[in-house]
Symmetry: C2
Subunit: 170 residues, 2 copies
DNA sequence: GTGATTTCCTTCATTTACCGAATCATCTCG
DNA sequence: CGAGATGATTCGGTAAATGAAGGAAATCAC
């Protein structure tokens, strides 16, 4: 069926994008001397201004232990600092150091940068179209993933619209 | 500028998609008892039918050593087998075992499955639009990544690279 | 207030991923 | 038959990530 072909093509395109993004991340990591995870954490701290390990962990979906681990390295590298909160001494407040800011400024996300360059050259209508498609897609996948478990009963309106591939699955 | 806003929105959407995909992968991994990488390798072997570690490595962009490592685990888990090629005894031929097929069948790619379900419910025009956008985007990012990465050494093979889905020789 | 519970982070131990370099067997070409 | 290339493995090392357990501080119950 043509529809299925479209779906397959779309999936292929998504994977291609995923791969490109992944590699961009690794490349960037190499360029900055940090690993992707470290960079991610550093960016997240920067984005949030002043946070705690726990916040980073939930937001990036890492374990706390992992974050601690990565923070150790970032701190050792002089890119971030920990400071105990005075109001709640269980907490550690995280900050990006000057060096850290420097690094982030000099090594902006490759994906982002190249995307910007290229995307900017597209005609406006195409940008708009792509944006619309991406957001739609984000909804689709997000919904999928957010309540993956509980959602099942809610979301499925009718699966039999047009014999769309319903693999035996579960 | 409005353009910048669009770009930012697009980037956000992309990240959202990336995250969804990533988490889908992890979830799946947990469900199957394998790690994302292991699953990826297993899928790749399955997709290609009969391949060699080297092919997997280049196709997934892993090092050979990494693939060997993962194969050890897959083999230990009884999901894949290695068999020395008789025509060229340097090569190992990889196969997915019955158990491996089983696992793949029972735990199909979550991203893929949910995407199929949801995507299928969209009106045709929207599917077409999204597909077009995705492919455009794939080009953008791919191009980005190609020239960023001197894949020079692969140049000989690279005629076929574009399609990605080009099955192994045969 | 004292004690129990919860919250936040860390430490520890372990598994996996990944890479580069070195190695071994094999193939291929001259 | 070498000489060199190729395919896979082993080895050594760094990093990521998780779960379990623990310590310190806040909070709640009485």
């Amino acid at each position: 069926m043509a529809e299925d072909q479209i779906t397959n093509a779309a999936l292929r395109a998504i994977r291609r994008i995923l791969r490109a993004a992944d590699q961009g991340g690794r490349k960037l990591a190499v360029a900055t001397g940090l690993t992707p995870s470290q960079l991610l954490v550093l960016q997240e701290i920067d984005r949030r201004g002043e946070t705690t390990p726990g916040a980073i962990a939930t937001s990036l979906q890492f374990g706390q232990a992992t974050v601690t681990n990565i923070l150790d390295r970032l701190e050792a590298a002089g890119l971030a600092t920990r400071k105990r909160s005075s109001s709640d001494k269980r907490r550690m407040l995280l900050h990006v150091t000057a060096a850290g800011h420097d690094l982030l400024a000099n090594a902006p996300d490759l994906l982002q940068e190249h995307f910007r360059n290229r995307f900017g050259t597209l005609p406006a209508w195409e940008r708009a179209m792509i944006l619309a498609a991406l957001e739609r897609l984000g909804e689709l996948l997000d919904a999928t993933e957010i309540d993956a478990a509980p959602l099942i009963d809610v979301g499925i309106i009718d699966r039999a619209v047009d014999g769309d591939t319903v693999p035996d699955a579960s």
